[in-house]
Symmetry: C2
């Protein structure tokens, strides 16, 4: 595909046909010219509202339905965070996570370019998203998963009937190998930090920004795994600054799970480079990336915006997940709850002022983890004839 | 609450403080004056875009995030239906179903009127939705469920920490009793066909209509249970006609599960009144309402629009559910799949022309039924070093 790319770090340029990674080792993203971009006046609700900042594509089916998710105030979380808290509800995407944004752009662009097969390396939300978007577009889909991926998760994926291959070997190497195999065999791989996916993921931030226009929020807090989404959020705000629509960038805070937090560890050390870790078990398994391909790019984003990268432990993640359900009505996956857990920790360090607008990106629905930390059900049984008494006993 | 009501059948008027049902036995809906209503120019994405047609309320939190769901084309379903098929993806609401629209309006109006507690009779999607919206708004929530409601479903509900009461006795009577108890004890019950819920549910149809403006779709096909949603869709198109925004109404087709289809049975008999049935087991349990409170109103809607009411069996429902996953990328609950199953059956009867625009309302996410009809996972295991061969074997 003839999409123009540029390296965020060294400025090298290329096109997507050549590859997703610069010779300097860092990932490319799509080169754009945001000058003259204005907030659209169209009534378009999906992410294609921002098509002037996206690669050319003619979306149909599910691809046309991604994005346009709610940004809701969560006033009952304000006191704990010491700021005005908002949540971007990415679970409202068609397959229940933010991944649909990148899949929509990736699959639409691949279909336009004549690809008949798309692919991805994932055993979770991204795989489901790619398979669903491919199904809608009538493309074949190849999903490469680790050999030990739990059958339960693959069962959800299999609903959309992709070809699934379990691959034995290093997961980080599989990521790169899949891109090579894809180039050689005409399969459009849209992995977690590849340029088309990052282009689509920008729209999370564009929607947030438009909600606050002409202002911008003071801080955005989001989970980080490969670093693709985090990179995209940074890119979006950079583009808005170039377009004259944001005079300053929000502080971007990225949150990892402590059991597997290579980017947070690098940040703590003051390093510009994330190095692989031996990740442990964590409830936030979907962001447990031991060797994140866009780790350095996220470190750059945190530095450039005055933000940071932190890690939170499983107890804090589960506490935050419960608080989102009971105090904001949002049932999210554990990985998403890291945003609130991280915001708590940042608040303790004095990161926010009382009049700050802090946006948590709730990246995905909790339905994928309905059995995790399931509450006991406390429900008395009463006769219909005794309803009045039972209600007044409990609710008065 | 001082919301003006009118009976769709006999024209009697009342206010919500008095009750939800007319002396003639039929349900009230909210009286509106749609004359002068025009499609809004605002960029508001939620259902509050249509606040000129809604009861006064000042939504915050989750209530402000309901609605604004995608309407997507599903071209791979066209051939089977013999029409241009679209799906309204209601699973994109904050708690994963269309119920959030009614909950948003009901909870926001109750909060504005000073209620501290809201309630509902439901053991499924509506209960989860009410509990989540109450949690977000800081209201208490009372959920009345049948004594035999499965613990698994209550566990999802309990995430939002409502007070749950299991009630032994007739479910139809519980519906009416809850409204009386609510009036007497100052609890705002928002049941499945009560006026505020129906007002919120109108917005499904308003969004569909605006997507087709200045035209309207030829047919809308949706599941029907209590008849609240179906009534709301009818009301919305009536309002648009009054406002001069729809010269004719789409044919409204309502689909029930054959195991429990009192409205479809009445329609087949040519009756204007639905009578209770002894419902059997069905995969589409969430629309298995043996004594639907708005059954007659749905029959009126089908007559008035030249549509109909039909029933489909579990095999057809599961086939349709699989087709939505594999050919449209939409993983929906079984009850939602009745819309496609019903459209198939209607197509066989010659209900559609090739250039008809047919909208299926996919009422809720499939995640709530992830174990129902789960596919076997067919995934070979290969070594990373053998990836090239494995891929070319399968994808060339």
């Amino acid at each position: 595909m003839d999409v123009p790319l540029i390296c965020y770090d060294c400025g090298n340029t290329a096109t997507l046909a050549v590859g997703a990674r610069c010779d300097c080792g860092e990932p490319y993203w799509v080169a754009t010219d945001p000058k003259g971009f204005a907030w659209p006046e169209s009534g378009e609700r999906s992410l294609w509202r921002y098509r002037d900042l996206l690669p050319d594509a003619d979306p149909t089916g599910l691809a046309a339905g991604a994005g346009g998710t709610p940004l809701v105030r969560t006033p009952r979380l304000d006191d704990d965070i010491g700021a005005r808290v908002h949540a971007k509800v990415e679970g409202s995407n068609p397959t229940g996570t933010f991944k649909d944004r990148g899949s929509a752009v990736g699959v639409a662009a691949a279909a336009d370019a004549g690809y008949e097969t798309v692919g991805t390396v994932s055993h979770g939300n991204m795989a489901r998203s790619m398979a669903a978007h491919a199904a809608s577009a009538g493309l074949d889909c190849l999903v490469l998963v680790p050999a030990d991926a739990p059958a339960e998760r693959l069962s959800l994926l299999a609903r959309h009937d992709p070809t699934i291959l379990r691959v034995e070997g290093d997961y980080g190497r599989l990521y790169d190998e899949s891109l090579r195999v894809g180039r050689e065999r005409g399969i459009a791989f849209v992995n977690s930090d590849t340029p088309l996916r990052v282009a689509g993921q920008k729209t999370t931030a564009l929607e947030i920004a438009e909600s606050f226009a002409p202002s911008v929020p003071d801080a955005v807090v989001l989970p980080v795994s490969s670093g693709g989404h985090g990179s995209a959020v940074w890119k979006a705000f950079q583009e808005l600054r170039e377009a004259g629509l944001a005079t300053e960038l929000p502080r971007l805070y990225f949150v990892q799970t402590a059991a597997c937090g290579p980017i947070a560890e690098a940040w703590e050390r003051g390093d510009r480079t994330a190095t692989p870790v031996d990740g442990g078990e964590t409830v936030a398994y979907s962001i447990a990336n031991a060797d994140p391909p866009s780790g350095n790019r996220v470190l750059a984003a945190a530095r450039a915006t005055g933000g940071g990268v932190i890690a939170v432990d499983d107890d804090a993640i589960l506490d935050a997940r419960r608080a989102l359900s009971t105090d904001a009505g949002l049932f999210v996956e554990s990985a998403s709850a890291t945003a609130l857990a991280g915001a708590h920790r940042l608040a303790e360090r004095g990161a926010f002022e009382g009049d700050d607008d802090v946006v948590l990106i709730a990246t995905g629905t909790g339905f994928t983890e309905r059995d995790v930390d399931a509450p006991a059900v406390d429900a008395a049984t009463v006769e219909l004839g005794a309803l009045d008494d039972a209600v007044s006993e409990r609710m008065d």
